[in-house]
C-alpha cells in the first residue's frame, strides 16, 4: 500500500466522522469546549555504536521536539475529543473519539513510529580452517561474508489506523441490540537487512538491503444483546497479512569442492540447488478467520458464562491450514458478601496440517548413497488443551481480602516429537494472594504462586551423541557416517522450561500524607527442571523496586522510582565434536 493511499484512508476516516457528527447532531445548545496545547522535547545522548540502542528514535543526539494538542467539545447532542502528538513525519499520533448520542459512539486513531532495525556488520564471519595448527596449514572449510549495502541504515516506519464504531439499536423499552465494528490497518514500510547463506563452495553469508512493505488488516464485527439477565453475542474476526515487495533472491554458488573446484557430482548429490538464483526469506500471505459465540445466564447466586470459538488460519502460498475449536465456561458465584468463587474451564483442539517433505535421494547413484530422506512434517501445534481453575475470594472487610486459586492444565500433543507420540504436559498450580492493611496509611500485598509441571515442553534428542559409527556407516568397511545419521544418534533432552516454579511477590504501600504515596516491593522467581536426562536447569529472577508518587494537585504529579532486575540461568555447553 502506498503512503498516499494511507493518507487518503486517514483523511476519509476523519472527514466521515466530522460529517457524521455534524449531520446527526441536533444543535440544541452551544457546545462546551476546551483546548490544551502541549510543547516538549526529548534528547538522548548515545556513545559508540548506537544503531541498536536507539531502536526507537527519540531525540538521538539532536533535540527532538514534541507538539501536542487536546480538543474537547461537548453539548447535549454528544461529544468530540481529539488528542494528537507530532514529533516528526515518522512519529505522530492522533485520535478522534466521538459520541453523537447514547446510541452511537466510535473512534478513529492513527499512530506511527520508526523502528531502527540495526545493522549486523557480520565481522565475526571470517575464518579458514587449518588442518595442522602447528604448521598453520590452510584447509577447505571457511566462512566469509559480503555486504552489498554496507552503508545502509535499516528500519521501517510502522503506521496504524484503528477505527471502531458502536451502535445501540433499541428493540423495546428495556432491550437493545448492540452492533460493533472495528478495523485495524498496520503497515510496515522501510528497509531490512536480509541474510542468505550458501555453504557448499565456501560457507558464505551475503547481506542485502530489502524493501519492507507489509500490510495487516484486522476486521471485527460483533452483535450483542441482553434479555433481562441473559446475554447473547456473536462476533467474527478476519485477519489478513501480505507483503507487497519482490521476494528477495540471491545467487547460490555452484556446489563444488571449496579448494580445487572438483567433486561436482558429489556435492550436487547432497544439495537441493546451486549455481542459480534462488528466492529466500519469503513472507507468505496469511489469512485468518474466527467465529465467536458467547452466552451468559444467571445460575443460582451467580452467573454462568460460556463462549465457543472456531478459527482457521491459512498460509495462502502453499494452502497449509491450522484449525482450532474451543470452548470456555466460567462460573462466578457469590456465596455471601464475603465469599465469592470463580471457576473456569477451557477445552481447545488445534489441528495443523501435515506436510510431506519430498526430497531427492541422498547421494543418488553414488556408493553408499541412495537413502530416501522423505519425511512427513508433523506439528507440535496439533494438540488438545484442557484447562481449569477455581479461585476462591474471601473478603473480611473493606481493607483486607484473600484469594486462593488452584488450577490444572493439560496439553496433549498428537504428533510431537514424532507421529502419534502423544507428548503430554500437565501443569498444576496454586496461588495464595492477600491484601492486608497494616495501619491506616500502609497496606501489604503478598502473592505466592507454586507451579508443578510434569513433562514441560522440551525439544527432544538435541544433545549428546551415542556411539554408533561402526554400525551405521553406509559405506563398506568404513566408519564414516553422515551428519543426518549422527543426528539420529543424539539422545539428550534439553529445555529452558521449568518443572517446578515458585513465585513470590511482596509489596508495601505507604501513604504518610494524602498526596504522597511510597511503594516498595520485591519479586522473586525460582524455576527448576530436574527431570532432564542431561542437566538440571535452574533460573532465578530477583526484582526489588521502590517508587514514590507525589500528586501535587489535580493537574500535576511527580513520579520517581528504581528497579533492579537480577536474573541468572544455567545451561550446558554441549559441543558436537567435528568428525567425532
Amino acid at each position: 500500500m502506498s503512503i498516499n493511499k494511507l493518507k487518503f484512508i486517514i483523511a476519509i476516516s476523519i472527514s466521515s466522522v466530522f460529517v457524521f457528527i455534524t449531520t446527526s447532531a441536533g444543535q440544541v445548545e452551544a457546545p462546551d469546549r476546551s483546548t490544551t496545547f502541549r510543547i516538549g522535547g526529548h534528547y538522548t545522548a548515545l556513545n559508540d555504536y548506537y544503531k541498536k540502542a536507539g531502536e526507537f528514535y527519540l531525540g538521538q543526539e539532536d533535540p527532538f521536539p514534541e507538539f501536542g494538542i487536546d480538543l474537547f467539545s461537548s453539548n447535549n447532542s454528544g461529544n468530540l475529543i481529539f488528542s494528537g502528538d507530532y514529533f516528526d513525519k515518522k512519529n505522530m499520533f492522533g485520535r478522534l473519539k466521538f459520541s453523537t448520542s447514547d446510541n452511537v459512539k466510535g473512534s478513529v486513531s492513527y499512530r506511527s513510529f520508526f523502528r531502527n532495525h540495526g545493522t549486523d556488520l557480520l565481522e565475526n564471519l571470517v575464518v579458514r580452517e587449518t588442518t595442522n595448527p602447528d604448521a598453520n596449514t590452510p584447509g577447505g572449510k571457511m566462512v566469509t561474508h559480503e555486504d552489498t549495502a554496507a552503508e545502509a541504515d535499516y528500519g521501517y516506519t510502522r503506521h496504524e489506523i484503528d477505527s471502531n464504531i458502536e451502535f445501540k439499536i433499541p428493540l423495546d423499552e428495556k432491550h437493545a441490540l448492540k452492533l460493533m465494528a472495528a478495523h485495524r490497518l498496520i503497515i510496515h514500510k522501510g528497509t531490512e537487512q536480509k541474510l542468505a547463506i550458501m555453504h557448499c563452495s565456501s560457507c558464505h553469508i551475503k547481506s542485502q538491503q530489502v524493501d519492507v512493505d507489509r500490510e495487516t488488516n484486522n476486521i471485527s464485527l460483533d452483535a450483542q444483546t441482553k434479555f433481562d439477565e441473559i446475554e447473547l453475542g456473536y462476533g467474527i474476526d478476519y485477519s489478513h497479512f501480505d507483503s507487497d515487495v519482490k521476494i528477495p533472491e540471491v545467487f547460490y554458488d555452484t556446489v563444488q569442492h571449496p579448494v580445487n573446484g572438483g567433486a561436482l557430482e558429489e556435492f550436487d548429490s547432497r544439495t537441493n540447488y546451486g549455481g542459480e538464483d534462488v528466492s529466500f526469506d519469503r513472507e507468505p500471505e496469511i489469512e485468518k478467520i474466527s467465529h465467536r459465540v458467547n452466552l451468559k445466564i444467571p445460575a443460582g447466586k451467580g452467573y454462568l458464562a460460556g463462549a465457543f470459538i472456531a478459527s482457521s488460519v491459512k498460509n495462502k502460498w502453499n494452502n497449509l491450514q491450522a484449525k482450532s475449536n474451543g470452548g470456555l465456561l466460567k462460573y462466578n458465584v457469590r456465596f455471601s458478601s464475603k465469599v465469592r468463587l470463580i471457576a473456569n474451564l477451557r477445552i481447545n483442539r488445534i489441528k495443523n496440517d501435515e506436510v510431506l517433505i519430498d526430497m531427492p535421494l541422498w547421494r543418488e547413484g553414488l556408493l553408499g548413497g541412495g537413502q530416501d530422506l522423505d519425511y512427513t512434517r508433523y506439528s507440535n501445534l496439533t494438540r488438545t488443551v484442557l484447562a481449569g481453575d477455581a479461585n476462591l475470594k474471601y473478603r473480611l472487610n473493606r481493607y483486607n481480602n484473600l484469594s486462593l486459586q488452584i488450577g490444572y492444565e493439560r496439553v496433549q500433543r498428537d504428533d510431537y516429537p514424532d507421529y502419534n507420540f502423544k507428548n503430554k504436559t500437565s501443569k498444576i498450580y496454586s496461588e495464595l494472594k492477600f491484601k492486608y492493611r497494616l495501619s491506616k496509611s500502609s497496606t501489604l500485598r503478598a502473592k505466592y504462586r507454586f507451579t508443578n509441571i510434569d513433562n514441560p515442553f522440551t525439544i527432544f534428542n538435541q544433545l549428546l551423541e551415542a556411539r554408533g559409527n561402526g554400525t551405521t556407516s553406509p559405506l563398506p568397511d568404513n566408519s564414516a557416517v553422515y551428519y543426518f545419521q549422527r543426528d539420529d544418534l543424539r539422545y539428550g533432552n534439553a529445555a529452558n522450561q521449568p518443572a517446578l516454579k515458585h513465585h513470590l511477590d511482596l509489596s508495601v504501600d505507604f501513604k504518610p500524607i494524602k498526596r504522597l504515596s511510597l511503594n516498595g516491593g520485591v519479586k522473586y522467581t525460582l524455576e527448576q527442571n530436574g527431570d532432564l536426562d542431561t542437566f538440571d536447569y535452574e533460573r532465578t529472577t530477583l526484582t526489588p523496586n521502590l517508587s514514590f508518587n507525589l500528586a501535587g494537585g489535580p493537574r500535576w504529579s511527580f513520579f520517581g522510582g528504581g528497579s533492579l532486575l537480577k536474573q541468572t540461568a544455567n545451561a550446558p555447553a554441549a559441543f558436537a565434536m567435528f568428525d567425532g
Binding site: 472487610n397 495464595l432 550446558p572 555447553a573
Partner: protein
Amino acid sequence: MVNKIKFINFLSYFFLPLFFMAMALFCLSPPLKATSEDTDYVGDETCLMCHEKYEESFSKTVHARANIAGRAPAVSCESCHGPGSKHTDSGEPADIFNPEKADSYEQANTCNVCHGKLKASFGFSHMDAAGGCNDCHIVHSESDNLLRKQGSELCFSCHADTRALFAMPSHHPVLENRIQCYDCHQVHGGGAKFASLNTERELCLTCHVDKQGPFVFEHDPVNEDCSICHNPHGSVADNLLIQAEPFLCMSCHPLHFHTSIAGVVGEFSAPMHPERGGISTRDGFKQAMLTKCTQCHTTIHGSDLPAQSISGPGALTR
C-alpha cells in the same frame, strides 16, 4: 526427582503455614461496618450548595452528559453516593457513602450499577490488588475515560518494575508513548481485541502476523509459546530475547559442530572465490559459530523454503 520431592516438602513447610497465617490475620480483622439506611435523597442542588467546586468540573464529565435530556439512567450525586439527607443534616462525612474511601468491591458494586458489562470480569486480579475503580479513575474528572493519568503512565504508578523493563535496550516502545499497555492487556479482564486466545501466542500474533504460519518448516517453540524465547516488556538482548544468542539457543541445542575447528592464522582468500576472504584467527570458527545463530538460521520463526542441504531441509536457513 529428588529435587521434586525436596520442593514438594518445601511447599508443605512454606505454603500451608502461610495460608493458615493469612487466614488467622483475616479472622482477627475487624468486621465490615453496616451502612445506615435511615436516610433519604435530597437532589443535586442541595449537594452543590456546599460542594460548589464540583458544579463546573462535573458538568464536563461523561457522567454529567448522561444526565441530559432524560437519556440513559440519570446520574446525579446521589446515584453514586447514595441518599444524602442524613449527611446534609449532620454535615458529617461519615454519614454518606464515599466511593473513594470504600474498598474495591464496594466501589465495583457502585460503578457496576451502570457499567454492568464489567460485572463479567468481576474478580479479576486488579480488583483484589488495587483499591478499586477509583485507583485508576476520578469520577469528577474531565479527563478522557476519567483516568487519573493518560496512557501507560497510569499503569506504571503501580507496576514500576515493568516500567523499568521498558527501559532495557530492546523493548516495545511504551515509554516512547508509541504503544500503550492496553494494546496488549485488558485492564478490566477479558480477552484482547482481535485475539481468539486459543493459544498463548495468539496475543502476540495479532500484530506479528507474519510469524504466524503455518509454515512447512517449523521451529517448535514458536508454536508453543513466544515467551519461551521473548520477554515482551524488555530485555538486555536484541529482539526482546530472554537471553542473548547463542546462549538462548544453547538452552535446547548443542553448539554447532564447526565450533571446534581450529582456524588458520593470517590473511586468506577462498580459492574458488578469490574476492572473498579476510583475516583468519585460530578461534575464528568459535567467533563465527558462537556469536549469533540467526546469522545463518535467518528464518527462525518458520519457513516454507527448504535449506540447501538435502539431509536438513528444515534448518530454517532460507
